[in-house]
Assembly symmetry: D2
Homo-oligomer: 471 residues x 4
C-alpha cells in the first residue's frame, strides 16, 4: 500500500470531515467541481509514483525491506538526497502548472524537522507516526500559523486565548486542544494534519507550545475553505488556474481530543522555537524548489510573447529578458547551493544550509514583483484588454480575433500565451502567487532575520580588524 | 443641454451600436448587469456636475455667453486651469474607487491636442466638433493604439494592412476607413469615438496617417468588449470592483464612411507624430492626475491594515509605510509641478510641461510593483486565504469568522480592509491596475524616451565643460 | 560695510583663532596654500555681491533704510523669497565647482530657525545678533553635531560629559560651556560660530540644551581641521578640487565663556528639539539647493564623455543618461516644489515645506550612489588608469597621450572631462561628496523619519476606509 | 627555480624596461617608494609559496616529475581544481588587503584560455610558453583592452590605426606590431606581457587579430604608469592603500618585433573572439574570487564600526548589515557554484560555468555602489571629516582626539576602522575599487550580454508553451 494510486488517494478523502466552502457545509467533496480541481491537482503527487517518466525520481526503496515508498518521505542523509528531493518537488510542480502539489511535501518537511530535533519518547512517537504516513502513503497538511489576533500581544496576552491553538486539558489518554490556525494549505484534501507551534515561546506561553497530528475527520475539527479565486475558470482564459488550485483553510480546533501517541510536544515552551525552526529549515527549501518552475515560466513566457509580438530584438526587451534570466538563475543557483552545503543535524538527518536557503528565498521574494513588471512589460496591455473564453468559443467573434490578434504568430497561439501570462501575473491566481512570494513559508522579513542569524560574522570581523591594523 | 444628467447620459447610449460581449451581441446595453456597472461608473462624470459638493470643480462657465458647461471641456490657458483640471480628475476618480471615469477626460485630451497643433480648415473642423461635444456634453472615447500585427514591421509593411486603421478611399463626401484599434477604453459606453494615429509616420505610411471622429453607432463600426474581469463580484469580497469597472474594446472599422467635416487628418504623415504627441501631452497628465487616489489608497490601506493587525509600530512596517508615502507624495508633487510649469502652445492653449509630466508618470509606473509588494507585506497572507462573500453572508460561518479574524479591530472591519487591498493588488481588478501602470497612456519605455527628448541638455553640458576647464 | 569685498572677508580672518592642521598650530591661515584654497572658495560668497552678473541675485535692499546687504541674510517671507534664496545658493555653488560656499548660507539657516521659533528675550538676543551678522556681512559657521561618544547613551549618560557640548556654570555675566562638536563646516574660515543643540532632549539632558554664538577667536575655543583630502592637487588631474575645498573641524570648547547677549538657549530642554528642527527645515532646503549643480554635473559630464568616447548613441548608454536625467530633474522639481509649498511660521517667517524638502533630500541621497555608478559606467576605466598631471606637463609624455587618448574628441579635452569626473566620483573629493550625500544636513534615516512625521495621513486613511466601506 | 622567492622576483625586474611615471622615465624601479609599494604587493604571490600557512594552497606538484611549481599555473581539470584556484586567489587577495596581486593570476588565465581553444602549431607555441612561465615562475601581465579611439568605429575604421594593436609586417623570423593597449594591470612589475585581441573581429580587422607574448624589456615597448592614486600615504590615514597598490599602464608598442615562437594568433580574425572569450571565462572567475575579501571587508567593517559607534542594535543598522550580508554571501555562493558547475573544454581543460560566473560578477558589480552607501551609512560622517595621520602623530593633538573620538571603543581603534573604511570607500583607493567593479574584467553590460548568450532558453520556452497549451 506504500504507493497509493491517485484514485486511492481520492477515495481516501471520503470520510466524515467537516469542510465549509462558500458559506455551506461540503457534503460531497469529490463532487464539487471547484474543489475537485484542487484534489486532482494534489493527486499529481500520487500519479508520479506510477508514471514511467517520473518514477525514478518519485519512488524510493527501503534498503532493508526492499519495499518501495514515495520518495517524498525519504529522510535526507546527504546533499544528494536533498538535491533529489528538490528535483522531485520542482518536477511535480512543473507538471502542476507552477503550483506546488504539497500534500506530501509539507508533511514530510514537518516530520523531518521533528525527527531531527526531538529526542526520547517524543521522538519515538514521531518516528511511529512517520512510519505510518510513509507506509500508508498519506496526504499530510501542516497547520502552523495561528490566527494570532492582535500581533502586538503574546499568545497568553490575547483577549481571546483561542487566537493561538492551545492545550485546554490533559489526562492519561491524551490532550484536548482549542483554537484556530490560519492559511492551512491542502488541509481540506489531506488525510492528516500535523500541528506545529508558530514561533518560539516563553514560559508564560506554555499552553501554546503544542505539536500533534490528527486525521482530518477528527471530531471537533472544522475546516473553512477560503473563497479566494472561487468561480468558474474557462480553459482558454485561464489556461493554468482552470486546472490547478490549492485549498487554504481556516482550521478550527473546538476541544479536539488527541491521544498521547499523536502528541509530539505539550507545554514545553523551550522546544517551540527549535521545532518551528526545524520545519522552516526544510519548508523554505521546499519553497525555493517549487518556485523554480514559476521563475522559469516568467523567462519563458516573456521571451515567447516578445517573439510573438515581434519585439524580441528590441534593446529594452532584451534588457528585460536578461534581468528575468538573472533573477531566475540566481534563485536556481542558490537553491542548488543550499542542498550542496547541506548540514547534518540530530540523528544523522541532513538539512539544507539555512543561510543559503534563506538567501534563495529572499532573492526570489524580494525580486518577485519586479519580475512581474518585466513580464507584463514584455507582453503588452492586451493582458487585461483581450478577449475572454466565450469570445473564443463563438465562431463569429473568433474569426475577428483571428484576423486582428495575429502578429508574428497566429492569434490563437499568441492569445493563449497572453492568457497564460495573465493567469500568472494579473488574475486572482497571479495575485495568489504574489502574496505567497511575500508571505508563504515565512515573510521577507523572516528571511532577512534568519539570514542575519545564520550568518557567521567571525571571518568578516576578523578581516576588518586586520585591515584596520587593530587585530 | 450643456450639463446632462447621469440618466440623460445613460439614455443616450440606447442606439444601434454593435457591441459584442462574452461571445454574443449585446442587445440591451443598459440591462446587462456587468456592463451596467461600467455605465454607472462612467455616469459619475455627469453626476458631479449636479452635486453641490463637486459643482465648483466640475462646472465651467462660458465668459461670453455665461452658459455653464462641463469643466472637463474647458480649454486650458494657464497653470491654474491645468491644476483645476487635475483636481477635478483626481476628485472624480476618488469617488470612482481609484478607477478613472474617463468618458470626458480622454476626449477632451484629444480635442485640446488637435486644437493646439492643427491649423487652417482642419482646425476649424476640430473646433466645430469640439463645440458640439461641449454643448451636447458628450461622452467621448479615443481610439489610438492600432492592433499593430508584427511590431517589427511598419504599418505599410504589415501582411494584413488592416492591422493599422487606414484610409481605403476618399471622395467629395468624405473618406472610408478600415482596420482595428486595440484597448479602446470606454468606447462601448461613449457617444463618440475620436480616432488618432498611434505614432509618427513616414511617407510610405500616408494611408495610416488619419484622424477623425464618429458616433459609436456608425455603420461598419463594431466593438468587442474585453472579457477581462467579467463575472459576478460580491460586494463584501470585491468592495471596489463590484461597483467600478471600465470597458475596453477591440474596435473594428469595417469600411466605415466618415464625412469630411469629421475628418481632422487624412494622408498627412508629417502631422501624425505631432497629433499623436499633442494628445499624449494632455493624456499623460490626465493619467498622473487620476493615479493620485490610487497611490493614496496604497498609503491609507497599508497604514490601516497594519494598525488593525497590531503591527503599526514595528520597525520594518514603519519603513514600508515611509516608502509608500515617499512614492505617493513624489508622484503628487511632480504632477502638481507639471501643471505649475505649464507651457503655452499654438492658439494660446496651455499644456503641462512634458518632461515633468513624464517624470511623474515614470515615477508612478516604475515604482508601482514595488508599492504592491509593500502593501501586501503590510497586510499579510490573509489577502488570498481569507473568506469569501458567501461565507460572510452565512450566519453560521460569519460567527466563526468574527471570532477568529478579530485582531486590533473587529473582524468585519479588518476583513473589509483586507478585501479592499485584495481588490487593489491581487484580484483581476488589481492586475488591471498593474498592467495599466506599465502600459496605459504610454509604456514605461515611452516615458523614458519622452523624458530624454524633452530634456534640454544645454545647461548641464555647459556646466560639465566649465568644470573640466574646456569651456 | 554691509557688503564686504572678498579681500575684506579674507582680512577679517586674521585674528587670534586657534586652528590646528595636520598636527600643527596654524600661524598664518591665509598663507597656508591648502587652507587658502578653502578661504578663496568661501570668498565666492563675497565676490558675487560685487559681480554684475550675480548682483541681482546676491544683493538685497532694506525696504526701510534702503541699505544694501547680502541676500543670504534676507529673512524669507514667501515662496518667492525661498525660490530666490534657492537660486542664489545654486548659482554660487555652481561657480564653486559643485561645492557649496556655505559661509553665509548655514549661518542664515540657523538664524532664520532661531528667529522663527524663539520668543521673548531670547528672540531679541537672536534678532540683535542677526542684525550684527547682516550689517557686518559676517561669515558664520554652525556647530550642531556633537561628538556623541557611545550613541546608545543619552547625553547625560555619557561616561565623559564633554561628548556633548554643555553648560558648566552660569552667572550674571554669562555662561561657561565645555565639550566638542564634530564636522563643523567652514568654522576655520568663518568669523562667527553659532552653536545649536543636536537633537531633542529630555529633562535629564538640560545642561546640554544650549545654543549661543561666539567669535571664532574666542578664548578656549580650538579648531582641529580635518586632514581629509589634504595634499597638493594638480589642476589637470584635479580640475575641481584643486580650486574648491571646504574645511571641517573638530570644534573644542574648553570652558568657553559666553556673555548672555549671545546666549539663545540655556538649560531649556523642551526647546532643544524645536530649535534643532527649525534649523534643519532651512538647512535641508539649502542642501537640496546646493546639490543641483552636482546632479547637473553628473548629467552633463556623463553625456559629454559618452559623446567623446563615441558611445553616445549606444542603447544602454542612452538608458543610463535617461536615468541620470530622471534623477537630476526629480531632485530639482522637488526642491522647487518645497519652496512653492512654503509655510509661514512664527513671526511671519516663511520656511520650505518640510515633507517636500525631505522628499527632495531623500531622493538625492538615496539615488546618489547609483548615479555614481551610471556616470562611471558611461566614462570607462580610464577614470582610474589615466595619466596624471605630471604626465601631461611632460612634453615627451604628452605627445604619447595626445596620440593614444584621442577618440571622438581630442585627448586634452577628453582627459580633462575624465579628470573632472574622477574628481567628482572616484577621488577623495568625490568620496567627500558621497559621504555628504548620506550624512550631511541629516542622514537618509533622518530624512525618512522626517517625511513620515511631516506627512498628514488623514486624507489617505479616510480614503482607505471609504474604499473598504467602513467609513 | 620553479618557486622563486619574493626577492628573486624583485631582482628579476631589474632590466632595460622603459617605464614612465609622473612625467619622467623610471631609472630605478625598485628604488621608487611609490612603485615599490606595488612591487612588494605583487611579491605576495611569491611569498605564499614559501609560507607554511599558505603552502598547501600555493604550491602544486607535477605528478610525473614530482617537481613543485606555483599552484597559480596548475591547469584546471575539474571543479575541485577551480575551487582550489578560487581559494588561493581569495586567500592571497585577503593578505593583500582586498587588492588582488595578479602577477600570476591574470597570466595563467590567459594561458589556460589559449591552451583550451587553440590547436596545432599555435597551441604548441602556447604550450612551450606556458611551460617556460611555469618553470621560471614568471610574473605575467596581460594586455587586452586597446585604447580604441572612437568606439563607434571598428578597428580598421579608426583614423589612427594604432588605436588598436595590429600587425605591421611579418617575415620568416616573426612579426612587427604597433599600437597601444590601455589599463594594463601589473605590466610595469611583470616579467612578461601576453597580448590578446580585445574582442571578436571581422575579416576587415584581420591585422588586429593578433596574440603574442613579449618580455617587458622588449625593444620598442614603453609603459606609461598611471598617476592615479600617486602621492604619499600615511599608514594611519591610509591603512590599506599605504601598503597595497597596483600599477596600470598605457602600454605602447612602437614597431615591436615578436619572433614566431611567441606569436599565438596572427591575422586570423575568426579566432579573435574565441581567444578573447576563453580568457574572459577564466578571468571573470578570477575576478569574483578576488572580490570575496572585499565584500567580506564591507560586512566586517560595517559591523565593527556600528558596534564602536554604539548603534549595532538599531533597527535600520541591522537592516543595512543584513543587506551587506545578502550581497556578500550571494556573490560568494555564485562564485563557488561557478566552479561546481565547471565545464570541460578543449584538451580536457576545465573552465568555470560562464553563465554562473557572469551571474556572480554581475551581482557583485551591480550591487557595489549600493553596498558603498550602506557601509558609509553605518560609519558616519567622520569618514571624511576626521583627523589625518599627522594629527595622530602629534602628541598634543592626539590627546584631544583620544578624548573626543572615543565612543563604544577607544578612539585609536575607532579611527583606525574609520580610516580603513575611508580607504575602501571614499579615498582614491576606494574610487579605484569602484571603477574596477563597473569596468574591470568586463563591464556590467558585458556581463549581462554574456549571461543572455550563455543562458539556454530551451527549458523555459518549452515550459511556457506547455503552460499556454500550445506545445
Amino acid at each position: 500500500m506504500a504507493l497509493r494510486s491517485a484514485d486511492e488517494y481520492r477515495a481516501s478523502l471520503r470520510d466524515g470531515r467537516r469542510i465549509w466552502y462558500r458559506g455551506r457545509p461540503v457534503t460531497d467533496l469529490l463532487g464539487d467541481p471547484e474543489l475537485r480541481v484542487a484534489i486532482d491537482h494534489a493527486a499529481l503527487d500520487y500519479e508520479v509514483g506510477h508514471d514511467p517518466v517520473h518514477r525514478d525520481l518519485a519512488v524510493a526503496k527501503d534498503p532493508e525491506s526492499g519495499e518501495e515508498y514515495s520518495a517524498y518521505y525519504m529522510v535526507p542523509r546527504s546533499s544528494d538526497d536533498l538535491l533529489a528531493r528538490s528535483r522531485l518537488i520542482e518536477t511535480v510542480t512543473g507538471v502542476g502548472g507552477t503550483l506546488v502539489t504539497l500534500v506530501k511535501e509539507i508533511g514530510s518537511d514537518a516530520l523531518f524537522g521533528l525527527l531531527r530535533v526531538l529526542d526520547g519518547e517524543a521522538r519515538e512517537r514521531v518516528a511511529a507516526y512517520y512510519q505510518k504516513c510513509r507506509d500508508e502513503d498519506l496526504a499530510v497538511a501542516v497547520a502552523q500559523t495561528d490566527v494570532k489576533g492582535d500581533r502586538s500581544l503574546a499568545p497568553h496576552q490575547q483577549p481571546d486565548p483561542d487566537h493561538y491553538v492551545h492545550v485546554v486539558s490533559e489526562d492519561s489518554e491524551g490532550i484536548v486542544v482549542r483554537g484556530a490556525k490560519n492559511h492551512t494549505s491542502v488541509s481540506a484534501n489531506a488525510n492528516e494534519i500535523i500541528v506545529l507551534p508558530t514561533r518560539a515561546m516563553g514560559p508564560d506561553d506554555a499552553d501554546f507550545a503544542v505539536s500533534f497530528a490528527v486525521p482530518v475527520d477528527t471530531p471537533g475539527l472544522s475546516l473553512y475553505v477560503s473563497g479566494y479565486g472561487a468561480g468558474e475558470h474557462h480553459e482558454f482564459e485561464h489556461p493554468i488556474s482552470s486546472k490547478h488550485k490549492m485549498l487554504e483553510t481556516l482550521t478550527v480546533f473546538d476541544d479536539v481530543f488527541v491521544p498521547w501517541e499523536r502528541v509530539f510536544l505539550c507545554r514545553q515552551p523551550e522546544l517551540a522555537g527549535p521545532v518551528a525552526l526545524a520545519f522552516v529549515d526544510y519548508h523554505r527549501f521546499t519553497a525555493v524548489s517549487y518556485k523554480l518552475p514559476l521563475v522559469d515560466a516568467f523567462v519563458g513566457t516573456a521571451a515567447l510573447i516578445a517573439e510573438m509580438n515581434g519585439v524580441a530584438k528590441v534593446g529594452h526587451i532584451r534588457e528585460k529578458l536578461t534581468h528575468l534570466v538573472i533573477y531566475a538563475e540566481t534563485v536556481r543557483a542558490l537553491t542548488e547551493m543550499a542542498a550542496l552545503r547541506a548540514q547534518v543535524g540530530g540523528h544523522g538527518i541532513a538539512y539544507p544550509d539555512p543561510m543559503t536557503t534563506n538567501l534563495a528565498k529572499y532573492t526570489f521574494a524580494s525580486g518577485y514583483h519586479h519580475a512581474l513588471e518585466l513580464v507584463q512589460d514584455c507582453s503588452g496591455g492586451l493582458l487585461v484588454t483581450g478577449p475572454g473564453g466565450d469570445d473564443w468559443d463563438s465562431p463569429e467573434v473568433r474569426s475577428v480575433l483571428e484576423k486582428y490578434y495575429s502578429a508574428a504568430a497566429p492569434a490563437r497561439e499568441r492569445l493563449r500565451v497572453m492568457n497564460a501570462i495573465a493567469d500568472l501575473t494579473t488574475r486572482d491566481f497571479g495575485g495568489y502567487h504574489a502574496v505567497l512570494a511575500v508571505h508563504a513559508e515565512g515573510s521577507i522579513e523572516a528571511e532577512k532575520k534568519q539570514i542575519l542569524r545564520a550568518y557567521e560574522p567571525g571571518r568578516a570581523i576578523a578581516y576588518a580588524k586586520r585591515l584596520a591594523g587593530i587585530d
